[in-house]
């Protein structure tokens, strides 16, 4: 049985506010014997379960066995959830949509600019959570400062920054991207891309890196998790939380601090060197990224962070598999040289045979996976249901526990919820929901 379900049933009057669970349980009241489902509207507060007292149960006049009153067996198809009411919310001139992702600092949500009708993403930072992260506030300030200056097609653009002093929240409005490279990798078979696709992303990463290094910015945390993709397959480098701007007048690129992700750290940081060349750190981590994209593995692996850093520090990488071909193999070994001085610069990589050549077409290009059961292959804006709710009839979707579990069982792939509902009205409502979507063609285009 789904653990979430257990919690829902066993909890007493009011549930703790769990923000992960977007669904509220309308009512659970369906013994095995009865063929009907009951749905009671108007629970006193959202996110709470309405419990019926004995009198009410008697009123329902169910032919229940007295022995069965203690433990009901509830069929998963008989637990009906109602999707949370989509209440349209505006922050500044932006209409809020669904959650795209979540990090330690807060959430990332989709938004729609109500003036330009551009899709945007917003990173919501909570002061309270930020204080708990070491260097959290400084990192955010630095990220904002850097992103304000940077403007390149392969670097994420910061559109707007808003503060809400009452809620102690900060909103960073950024370009909208549909997916993270990391998620795509994890969803694809073998956790790797065909060479053609990896080549496409890697050349874009190089363009972005060349620009960043040209502006004297060292990212220091290049990894698939920090590379986003837009709808037209443009790669965007994001997360400048640990990036560093070099002094404009120093001819070298020496850095003193490194705080990126362990698996992507070069030996000099793993060994705890006092100072190191900044740009070569990015070269190393893009090397690891390329290795990861093409093989689905990491050049260094370890059971835990210490083992991993030790392995990196010793510097014996797993050699690139020969299946990759000689050109890519040579590039990878060159980029993952232990001595930073021997690693190539971005320009040298750009001139490398593998980067210059067009890899042959291979079947099986991976696409960006839909995020959840309610998003679709076309990545339609999640703001639209909120707008529909605001301007048209109130529409609600019903689905059962079984659907939910089926969805999760299939690894998040989308199966149109086939909610077998007892009342015909809700199916009708669902249809109206879809038809009213069609009335907003302009929103779909954005």
């Amino acid at each position: 049985m789904d653990p979430r379900m257990c919690r829902k049933i066993s909890s007493s009057e009011s549930l703790p506010e769990d923000e992960n669970v977007e669904y509220e349980v309308s009512n659970i009241m369906a013994p095995q014997e009865s063929e009907e489902n009951f749905l009671i509207e108007g629970s006193p507060e959202p996110n709470s379960v309405t419990w019926l007292d004995d009198d009410q149960i008697d009123e329902l006049d169910l032919n229940l066995d007295q022995t069965n009153l203690l433990f009901h067996r509830v069929d998963s198809a008989d637990i009906i959830y109602r999707s949370k009411k989509k209440k349209c919310k505006m922050v500044g001139k932006y209409v809020m949509g669904d959650v795209l992702g979540e990090g330690s600092y807060g959430k990332v949500k989709e938004m729609l600019d109500s003036e330009s009708l551009c899709r945007r993403a917003v990173k919501i930072l909570k002061k309270r959570k930020l204080r708990r992260i070491p260097n959290g506030e400084q990192n955010v300030q630095r990220e904002i400062q850097l992103l304000r200056i940077l403007r390149h097609k392969n670097v994420i653009e910061l559109v707007d920054v808003m503060y809400n002093d009452e809620k102690q929240k900060m909103y960073l409005v950024m370009e909208f991207c549909v997916g993270v490279l990391q998620d795509m990798l994890e969803a694809s078979p073998g956790k790797k891309f065909p060479q053609k696709q990896a080549h496409n992303y890697f050349t874009q990463l190089l363009d972005g890196l060349e620009y960043l290094h040209g502006q004297g910015v060292v990212h220091k945390d290049i990894k698939p998790g920090n590379l986003l993709l837009t709808l037209d397959q443009t790669l965007k480098i994001t997360d400048f939380g640990v990036a560093e701007a070099l002094d404009m007048f120093s001819p070298e690129d020496t850095c003193y601090t490194g705080q990126g992700s362990p698996a992507f750290q070069p030996p000099e940081i793993a060994n705890g060197a006092e100072q190191f060349s900044g740009t070569k750190v990015d070269i190393w981590s893009s090397g690891v990224t390329l290795y990861n994209m093409t093989t689905g593995r990491y050049p260094y692996e370890g059971d835990n962070v210490y083992r991993l850093l030790e392995a990196i520090g010793r510097g014996e990488p797993a050699p690139p598999p020969p299946a990759l071909g000689p050109a890519l193999g040579a590039l990878l070994t060159h980029m993952l040289k232990r001595d930073p001085a021997l690693r190539p610069s971005v320009h040298q990589i750009k001139r490398h045979a593998w980067v210059q050549a067009q890899p042959p077409l291979e079947p099986g290009e991976r696409f960006i996976q839909p995020r959840s059961r309610r998003s679709d292959e076309l990545h339609t804006s999640t703001v639209i249901p909120y707008l529909v709710e605001r301007h048209y009839a109130s529409a609600q979707e019903y689905f059962t526990e079984r659907d939910l579990r089926n969805d999760m069982g299939e690894g998040g792939s989308r199966t149109m919820s086939t909610a077998e509902l007892s009342d015909g009205e809700s199916t009708q409502q669902k249809r109206r929901w879809h038809s009213s979507c069609g009335r907003l063609p302009s929103c779909r285009l954005t």
Binding site: E210, H213, G214, Q215, L246, M248, P251, H347, R351, A357
Partner: protein
């Protein structure tokens, strides 16, 4: 396919008939009109071969390779560009499309067309002088920018004497030509960072004496654009030594301070970017 009977022509024939038509056009006798028609027709056929049409796929690699080989052998690309002003409007666009497609063609890591143009730099110089003729300027511009993407070709253009003509082209009175020329100019100076850094360092005096004229130009757009580009160039770390050299000259600081006094806010803003570099040091 009966509708496209003509596309059955082999690439060699197609190129030959196009060449005949272009030479007839060049002679410019009475049959010029007929020749122009032929040129446009053949160009459309070649374009369809490379790009395909709405109901026909592009031709196979072998045919395209043959076509490219014929184009090199007959020197047709140069001929077409030289006579671009005589070809009709649609034809000019077709020439640009065919040129760009052939240029992008790759065999493994090699780009044969780039190698071919390296041996025939006249093509580039003819394209660059295209900015002098209003009617072909924008077509030449698209072809030039495509060329500038390749380091070898960009190098030829940068180190040629014709490059300094750009300082004139960006100031011509026709706005669209001037801005087209400026975007090509910018592309050349910013696309290949290392190449540009080397070039600027080697030709510092010559380039910046020309550049000074742009910064003092009467034309508001030129002044603003060139100031913006200067800021970008100096702030790029690849051009570190150029920046140090630029800011050691007190005249430049004086110029920037005068720019800060300008009426236009945008110029003030761009000048500040350069000014801050001078002052921080």
């Amino acid at each position: 396919m009966p509708l496209f009977g003509k596309s059955q022509k082999s690439p060699a024939e197609l190129v030959r008939s196009l060449k005949d038509a272009v030479t007839a056009l060049e002679r410019g006798d009475k049959k010029a009109e007929k020749a122009q028609e032929d040129v446009s027709k053949n160009l459309v056929l070649i374009k369809n071969m490379l790009y395909g049409t709405s109901d026909a796929e592009p031709q196979t690699d072998i045919i395209v390779a043959q076509l490219a080989q014929e184009l090199y052998n007959t020197n047709l690309l140069l001929l077409l560009i030289q006579n671009l002003s005589r070809i009709d409007f649609e034809g000019k666009k077709d020439v640009a499309q065919v040129f760009n497609n052939v240029l992008r063609r790759q065999i493994g890591t090699r780009s044969p067309t780039v190698e071919y143009i390296c041996t025939k730099p006249e093509i580039l110089f003819t394209l660059m002088s295209g900015y002098e003729h209003q009617e072909i300027a924008s077509n030449c511009g698209t072809m030039l920018r495509e060329c500038a993407r390749y380091e070898a070709l960009a190098k030829i253009m940068l180190y040629s004497d014709d490059f300094y003509n750009f300082f004139r082209y960006v100031e011509v009175s026709t706005f669209d030509i001037a801005s087209d020329a400026f975007s090509t100019f910018k592309e050349l100076l910013t696309r290949h960072k290392m190449l540009c850094a080397e070039f600027l360092e080697a030709n510092y005096d010559k380039v910046f004496s020309h550049y000074q004229r742009l910064l003092n130009s009467e034309n508001y757009v030129t002044r603003r654009q060139s100031l913006k580009l200067l800021g970008e160039l100096l702030l790029d770390r690849h051009n570190f030594s150029i920046m140090t050299r630029y800011i050691t000259n007190p005249d430049n600081l004086k110029l920037m301070m005068n720019m800060l006094k300008e009426k236009s806010r945008n110029i003030q803003f761009e000048a500040f970017h350069v000014f801050k570099v001078c002052v921080i040091n």
